[in-house]
């Protein structure tokens, strides 16, 4: 089996080659928090949090200030079916895959099926999206607490997080 791609090294080399002078300093922590499940998954309320720029079909473009490089948090009702959702992202491997099947990066259908089968207890009323920003401080100090607030408001016990 071939080794997985080391994106930190790969993107550094790629952008240096393109003439960008400074390489990005990725967040890094020695200590990692850990919370055990407080109850069985079959009794837990699950929230989905995604950075995939998921949006409802027909919805307005987000304002510039809440879009991409500025970060920000938004929510979408969890009952919206996958067929009514799409991703606005441009940052995926277009040479190898597509984003026309939401299930490949935003497992809302799978989560609803898991509730129906009793594998998980329930879902929060809303799922949450977080826009990326170069500012780790803004993500940590502004967006992370806002996601937590929204998760707590709807009693989430467990979070599934997906990137793209």
């Amino acid at each position: 089996m071939s080794m997985y791609v080391r994106y930190i090294d790969r993107t550094r080399d790629y952008y240096l080659e393109k003439g960008y002078e400074r390489s990005y300093q990725w967040a890094h922590f020695e200590d990692v928090p850990f919370t055990r499940l407080s109850k069985p998954l079959a009794e837990s309320r699950v929230v989905l949090v995604s950075t995939s720029e998921i949006a409802e079909r027909g919805s307005a473009e987000p304002e510039a200030d809440g879009h991409q490089s500025a970060g920000g948090v938004y929510s979408i009702a969890s009952h919206v079916p996958a067929e009514q959702l799409f991703s606005r992202t441009r940052s995926y491997d277009r040479g190898a895959t597509t984003i026309d099947d939401v299930g490949s990066f935003y497992p809302t259908t799978g989560l609803h099926d898991a509730v129906a089968s009793g594998r998980i207890g329930s879902l929060t009323t809303h799922f949450h999206g977080v826009y990326n920003t170069y500012s780790q401080r803004h993500t940590r100090e502004r967006d992370c607490p806002e996601v937590l607030r929204r998760c707590r408001e709807e009693g989430a016990d467990v979070a599934i997080l997906t990137s793209i």
Binding site: M1, S2, Y4, V5, R6, R10, T11, Y14, W26, A27, H28, F29, D31, V32, P33, F34, T35, R36, L37, L41, V47, V49, T51, S52, A70, Y92, D93, R94, T97, I99, D101, G103, S104, F105, P107, L111, D113, V130, Y131, T133, Y134, S135, Q136, H138, T139, D143, C144, P145, L148, C151, R152, A156, D157, V158, A159, I160, L161, T162, S163, I164
Partner: protein, 127 residues
């Protein structure tokens, strides 16, 4: 960038009593940031939860995420799903290389514009 954002959010939720699992196609970024539980599928960026239009595989990958939530007992637990990308591994040699631009030229120009606007706002103390 989106792997870093999702990793920072996972850490914050976990610090505040919500158990998390990150499902990702890139392994090194969440690992570098440091997340409690990481489910890695060795797939191209864009498909962290399974191949497009492969419902059974997406379902199986989500079940791995559930099992990781249930069975991890220490932070930094990483599980790699057993699936191989059906189109082969050539994409690994192309992504972010001079052989293939990540963004088409017009989108890269737009990205640079946004990056510059962010720098400017930061300089003015608004970011």
């Amino acid at each position: 960038m989106c792997h870093q954002t999702v990793s920072l959010v996972a850490r914050h939720l976990e610090e505040n009593g919500i158990a998390t699992v990150v499902m990702a196609a890139a392994r090194d970024i969440p690992e570098h940031v440091g997340v409690p539980r990481l489910l890695h599928s060795d797939f191209p960026l864009g498909s962290p939860c399974g191949e497009p239009h492969n419902g059974p595989q997406q379902k199986a990958i989500l079940e791995y995420a559930f099992q990781l939530l249930e069975h991890a007992f220490v932070p930094r637990t990483i599980v790699q799903t057993p699936f191989k990308w059906s189109g082969g591994d050539d994409w690994k040699n192309l992504i972010f290389t001079e052989k293939k631009d990540f963004l088409p030229p017009e989108e890269e120009a737009d990205w640079l514009k946004r990056k510059e606007s962010y720098r400017q706002l930061k300089k003015e103390g608004k970011r």
